[in-house]
Amino acid sequence: MTEILAQDYLLEARQMQALSFVVHIPLVCFGIAFPALVLFVEWRYLRTGDELYRTLARRWSKVMVALFAAGVVTGTILSFELGLLWPNFTATFGEVFGLGFAIEGFSFFLEAIFIGIYVYGWDRLSPRAHFLSGLPIAVAGVVGSFMVIAVNGWMNHPEGFTYENGRVTSSNAARALFGNSYFWHEFVHMYVAGFIVTGFLVAAAYAVYALRGRWGRYERTAFAVPMTAAAVASPVQLLVGDWAAREVAKNQPVKLAAMEGLGQTTKGAALHVAGWYQNGDVVWGLGIPKLLSLLAFHDINSTVLGLDTVPLDDQPPVNVVRYAFQSMVVAGSIMALVAVLFLFLRWRKGTLPASPWFYRAVVLCGPLSIVALLSGWITTEVGRQPWVVYGFMRTEDAVTGASGIPVGYGALAAVYLGLLIAVGWVLVRLSRVPMAEPPDDRIDTTHPLSHAE
């Protein structure tokens, strides 16, 4: 009885989980990278005493706390969903991977504590103490994402436990999570992505100002800092991504085969661009002979394992994975191009670019960075299907037996739509604070709240 119900709601449960990730992951990028940018600007204030930097850091810290609040609640939903949607997954393997989330909980705690101190302490702490109170936010953001990705690495390559008759009989959580070589490429790739997404989204906002003719020193600084971060990170991300793909080729051949649409195990495999995967072949695609073997194993005649190494039932949905992967590569390459252009102009001309086309490109790079981020996660998550714990538990065996998942899915979708609108509205409101004068440090004692933070 339970089995039948579970089957019925698998699709809804997966979509609900995917929706929750799609909303949460961009906020994670801001958790990783934004504190570092805010602190950099505040550090310039400490070094120069220039109020402009303080104003900028302070305004950004308001954005940071709004995005953190959204990240807190969407992250809470994710932790609830591990039980609400996938109780069998957590009930069976919680003792193996749970530790990662417990440590993540602590780093989340520190982030919440120090973001409170940082944002509400602008006028109350000495400048140095205030700057120092921001450092734990930056560290905790990285530690937290490190832990979550360690769990993801373990789901892709489960080890560090013994499993008999559907039960974990012994486990070594530390080895499973941190002795696992599978997650390092995911972590580095995501960490760099955090700077690209944050950098381009923030820079895109100020590129809009540039195009509207608001281009004082304040806007230029607010544009240059995130843009520089994204510009140095994007080209490096190409190298990191290439390394990550080689790690996947070595460790997760089925996922690589799905990413490339390689039906049969092939010696000297070709790389296909675009096209559609059908019955073991990519049709209507542009094939570049031997390139896949070269990229994956640095040898044009190496053998690349295909999807035929596992039964059809164990193969991920190839076209989803493949198109997600290709979207990520295309989006990442465009962003790297814009980044290199920025660095080149900086080197040759010594100034910020003057052409409106450059700023239009940056405006497009904002949403493009989200596309790259999400399609990258789709590649790794859908590429693991049909397994939730690779080789041990299938996603359909992890799902809840509770009914009402579609109702919950609808409700969550409605609430998240509201959340997105709310966050967007907050950001627009914050950006409309008059820019000309220094920050309003006077506090109206009869209306303390409208200025309290």
């Binding site: 609040a69 602590f106 504590i113 281009w215 800092v225 037996g401 409700a411």
Partner: protein, 422 residues
């Protein structure tokens, strides 16, 4: 045995702190809802918001800690609770989203918009504690069997004990909030707010106390086993402590000794949770799963306990700092800002040097990561690329770049371009 029990104790401590801290935040939402219109109502709402603003995120994280410890240490119990009680837990989660959203919105809204935001905030402030309370009631009354969604989907949390626990959670939150807010108002020297919250504290105290005492009879009828646990042996101690502390805190509120009232109110509420835990032991899911049945293997437990201990060493001083700053009034909107410290900019020479370093490390990183094969070289390649990005950032010098005069960007935004294609 101790190995298996320590995480359960951490779960109970986490629940107590969540109830005391986040519960009070929820209670503040109740008072915002009932504040009424006009100048006085607005001041009450503002005060309730202001007192929570710096700490609410930290308060909320206790719930995350409880959940992660539960699923690491007692995974099967976590799966059973979250599948059988999916509906109330999901509703609590929605409430948490609504609340977080309202907090983010409040800071950017004007007075009129804030009224609407307060409404959704207050609705969430009642729904979330009620639902979480009914979850506790369902577990305590033994309505959650082990397995994937094997308990009653609706009846498990709509019985007398669950409803009682839900209302009790809302009422204790309101009581704690009123006491805490009265103390805050006293610190801010706002006599009319002190009086307003003093009255509310007395009202909520009577309601919460009445629910707790009346609840004992409900429990006796619905779950005799739990009643016996609460009224005999060690279970009786926290029940008595809770009653005494509750009465003392009411007396202290009457006497306007709010700082002491804060402590004894917290003790009264904490004792209720301890009483439940003691009455239920050794079961996690009465009367089917004990702590020992559900406990994860020893290696996981040791790793978890060590992490919790290390985490606590970092966490509690940080929390103490946050609450010291909040309670001492350091975040109150009256103190003065600090003076700036002068310094210098990054010189052209140093940027040039950074550019050379960046390019050097970029090339070295490329060779080690992309061309070389061994894993060791990949590690160094990544480190070199990391150095290259830092050096690159310094070489670009965004701050120096932005301080140079720059011509206006002559052009229209994309939107305007699309609107007027010619």
């Amino acid at each position: 045995m101790a190995l298996q029990t320590i995480p359960a104790a951490v779960v109970v401590i986490g629940l107590i702190l969540y109830t005391l801290l986040a519960g009070a935040d929820f209670g503040a939402g109740v008072w915002q809802l009932s504040a009424g219109g006009g100048e006085h109502g607005r001041r009450i709402r503002d005060h309730a918001h202001h007192a929570n603003a710096p700490v609410w995120e930290a308060n909320h994280v206790w719930l995350i800690l409880v959940i992660t410890v539960l699923w690491t240490a007692y995974p099967s119990v976590f799966g059973a609770i979250f599948s059988t009680l999916a509906i109330p837990i999901f509703l609590a989660a929605l409430g948490i989203v609504l609340r977080g959203m309202s907090y983010a919105l409040q800071n950017a809204a004007n007075a009129r918009q804030r009224r609407y935001i307060d409404l959704s905030f207050a609705a969430a402030s009642i729904m979330t504690p009620y639902m979480l309370g009914s979850v506790i009631g369902a577990v305590a009354s033994g309505r959650v069997p082990p397995g994937n969604a094997l308990g009653a989907e609706v009846a498990s949390w709509t019985n007398a004990t669950s409803i009682l626990a839900g209302f009790l959670a809302v009422a204790t939150g309101a009581f704690l909030a009123a006491v805490f807010l009265a103390a805050d108002a006293e610190r801010l020297r706002e006599p009319d707010l002190v009086e307003a919250f003093r009255g509310r504290a007395l009202l909520a105290g009577v309601v919460a106390g009445g629910l707790a005492v009346g609840g004992l009879f409900v429990v006796r009828a619905d779950v005799p086993r739990l009643f016996d646990g609460l009224t005999s042996g060690w279970g009786l101690v926290p029940v008595v402590v809770s009653g005494v502390a509750g009465l003392v805190s009411m007396a202290l509120v009457v006497l306007r000794r709010f700082t002491e009232a804060r402590l004894s109110a917290a003790l009264a509420v904490a004792a209720v949770i301890i009483g439940w835990a003691v009455a239920q032991r050794p079961y996690l899911l009465p009367t089917t799963v004990t702590i020992e049945d559900a406990a994860a293997n020893d290696t996981t437990m040791i790793a978890l306990i060590v992490s919790l201990a290390v985490g606590a060493v970092v966490l509690f001083p940080s929390l103490a700092l946050l609450f010291r700053l909040t309670l001492s009034g350091s975040f109150d909107p009256t103190s003065q800002g600090p003076p700036p410290v002068p310094g210098g900019a990054v010189s052209r020479e140093r940027r040039k040097h950074a550019a050379q370093t960046g390019i050097g490390f970029l090339v070295a990183g490329f060779v080690l990561l992309t061309i070389a094969e061994p894993a060791v070289s990949h590690i160094f390649g990544l480190i070199f690329l990391g150095i290259a990005t830092f050096a690159g950032f310094r070489a670009v010098g965004p701050v120096e770049l932005a301080s140079r005069p720059s011509p206006e960007v002559a052009g229209r935004s994309l939107r305007e371009l699309l609107r007027r294609p010619r």
